[in-house]
């Protein structure tokens, strides 16, 4: 299966005693396509009820400040449930000592994320826990692209984003050897569109980025050794984004 043809979902159940945080998790979850927020609840009892009803999320995200029951009791109760598959357990905690962190892990948690974290960091940790290694790499490409284009004030609703994303999944993760025509064809395959449509969409993105994010566009220029203020071709845009995403991923 090609990268980008199908995005792997990770389902997660969140529990945090702060209602504000639960609302933010639901809202953030509704605006992204990688983690399915099965529910965001405020007590340990609700977590147990949901699991007992047969819902089987891949990841459980539990806050250390949960009440009724508290985290230790909850982890013990979850361990006693007869679940079809054991979820990966991610604990959200305030900064603590190595000893306290080790205690969470001994009680049954698989990993810990410390506060304060951003929603992007939390969802990335969830995806890392529940997704496969190859899906994790694709996830990182998508998120870095999202961050970079958002920073340049690009409006995703203008279209073309999906084509660019598919192309970058290939150029970042697979091959260094490509020409523009081949990439347009690659993005158009199976989409009932012509390669020319992809080319036009990338031109629109290119032009929009140059207009809305001049500082970021200069960084893209420098990534392909062109002076700031230059105009990039579509292929140069792809190469510069590939280079910056690879750098961010440490590849």
């Amino acid at each position: 299966m090609r990268n980008g043809d199908k995005q792997e979902w990770v389902s997660a159940l969140f529990a945090d005693s702060d209602r504000g945080q639960c609302s933010a998790i639901k809202l953030y979850g509704a605006a992204q396509q990688s983690v399915e927020v099965c529910a965001a609840v405020t007590s340990g009892l609700q977590v147990l009820e949901i699991l007992e009803k047969g819902l089987s999320p891949q990841v459980l995200v539990l806050d250390t400040l949960l009440q009724g029951p508290g985290l230790g009791e909850l982890l013990w109760q979850i361990g006693r449930l007869d679940l079809a598959s054991r979820p990966c357990i991610l604990v959200t905690a305030m900064p603590c000592t190595q000893k306290t962190a080790s205690r969470f892990l001994t009680m049954g948690a698989d990993c810990i994320i410390f506060k304060p974290y951003t929603m992007a960091e939390l969802f990335a940790a969830v995806y890392r826990c529940g997704g496969s290694d190859s899906a994790w790499n694709s996830y990182r490409v998508r998120e870095y692209l999202h961050d970079m284009l958002c920073e340049m004030h690009y409006n995703r609703r203008l279209g073309g984003w999906n084509y660019l994303e598919r192309i970058l999944l290939r150029t970042v993760l697979e091959s260094d050897d490509y020409i523009a025509k081949e990439l347009y064809q690659y993005a158009a395959d199976g989409q009932h569109i012509q390669p020319g449509t992809v080319c036009s969409a990338l031109q629109r993105i290119n032009e929009s980025l140059r207009r809305t994010g001049p500082e970021g566009y200069d960084r893209l220029c420098r990534a392909v050794n062109k002076p700031a203020g230059s105009r990039l071709s579509n292929l140069e845009l792809i190469r510069s984004l590939t280079e910056l995403i690879r750098r961010a991923m440490g590849r």
């Binding site: 945080q21 609302s23 953030y28 305030m94 603590c96 000592t97 974290y117 951003t118 929603m119 609703r157």
Partner: protein, 274 residues
């Protein structure tokens, strides 16, 4: 026997209560605030029609910057308020300083470049074979991050950090220099009220972090253009009973990650453009 160390020592239970106290509550609240801003940003970006989208996103970006600044200020304020106890939350571990500083300088230069600041941080090793000491790398990161952001704001485009064989760390920049009040605060701990009112808490923190590391802040000959400060580092007296086996590569990876996060937090909060 050094009785200061004994009185300042924090037992694990007390560490937990401190962490769960001021710093923990701050972390908790910032986390919820940041979560709400992140969720609204993502939602507006993908769902809202223009011009609500762009206006809303501009406001949320501004809120994000303010949160980062407040987070840094709150962190600094908590460090100052909890003083000596918090500084010793992590037991100092033996570390080779030149390797850590080399990585820190490279990381700082990258993060400054990411903020579009021209400041380059250069490390010079004059130790002839490295320099071992017992220290908490988080304190070193925080100390240098504060000094570097001061240099960046003072218009410096070059900082030289030199480690010498006589266990000194020399910090030099080519910015606009420091006034007498700043130097008095840093090297003698004399805090003049008007200076603090102008925002000299960064230097106060540098002095606090240096004290926690048991580094002595010494006045240096000020260059014609720029700012200079020297730190005299304590002797390294390894205690064989405290030796532990550790995964060196993993430890290094953790140190680099902590260093990058510290620099990002400091520069993103202090060097962002209007």
């Amino acid at each position: 026997m050094n009785t200061d160390n004994l009185t300042d020592r924090v037992w694990p239970e007390k560490m937990d209560s401190l962490r769960g106290g001021l710093k923990g509550r701050l972390a908790e609240d910032f986390c919820v605030l940041q979560g709400a801003v992140d969720a609204l940003t993502r939602y507006l970006d993908q769902q809202a029609p223009e011009p609500v989208r762009s206006t809303g996103l501009d406001s949320l970006r501004e809120m994000n910057r303010r949160i980062r600044r407040l987070e840094r200020l709150a962190d600094n304020a908590a460090d100052l308020a909890l003083g000596a106890q918090l500084r010793r939350l992590r037991a100092p571990l033996p570390m080779e300083l030149t390797g850590h500083l080399r990585a820190l300088c490279a990381c700082a230069s990258e993060e400054l470049a990411a903020c579009d600041h021209p400041l380059q941080v250069i490390f010079r090793d004059r130790t002839q074979g490295g320099l071992w000491l017992e220290a908490d790398d988080n304190l070193i990161n925080s100390l240098l991050a504060n000094l570097l952001s001061n240099s960046a704001r003072a218009g410096a485009d070059r900082v030289e950090l030199t480690c010498t064989a006589d266990r000194r760390l020399l910090y030099r920049d080519n910015g606009s220099g420091a006034d007498a009040a700043a130097l008095a605060l840093l090297t003698q701990g004399k805090a003049e009220e008007p200076f603090l009112a102008r925002g000299g808490t960064g230097l106060l923190l540098v002095r606090e972090y240096a004290a926690a590391l048991e580094w002595k802040c010494c006045p240096a000959q000020q260059p014609e253009k720029g700012f200079a400060v020297d730190f005299v580092l304590p002797a390294h007296c390894p205690d064989p009973s405290q030796l532990v086996l550790a995964d060196g590569a993993k430890q290094m990876e953790c140190r680099h990650a902590a260093c990058r996060r510290c620099m990002q937090q400091e520069f993103a909060a202090t060097l962002w453009r209007e």
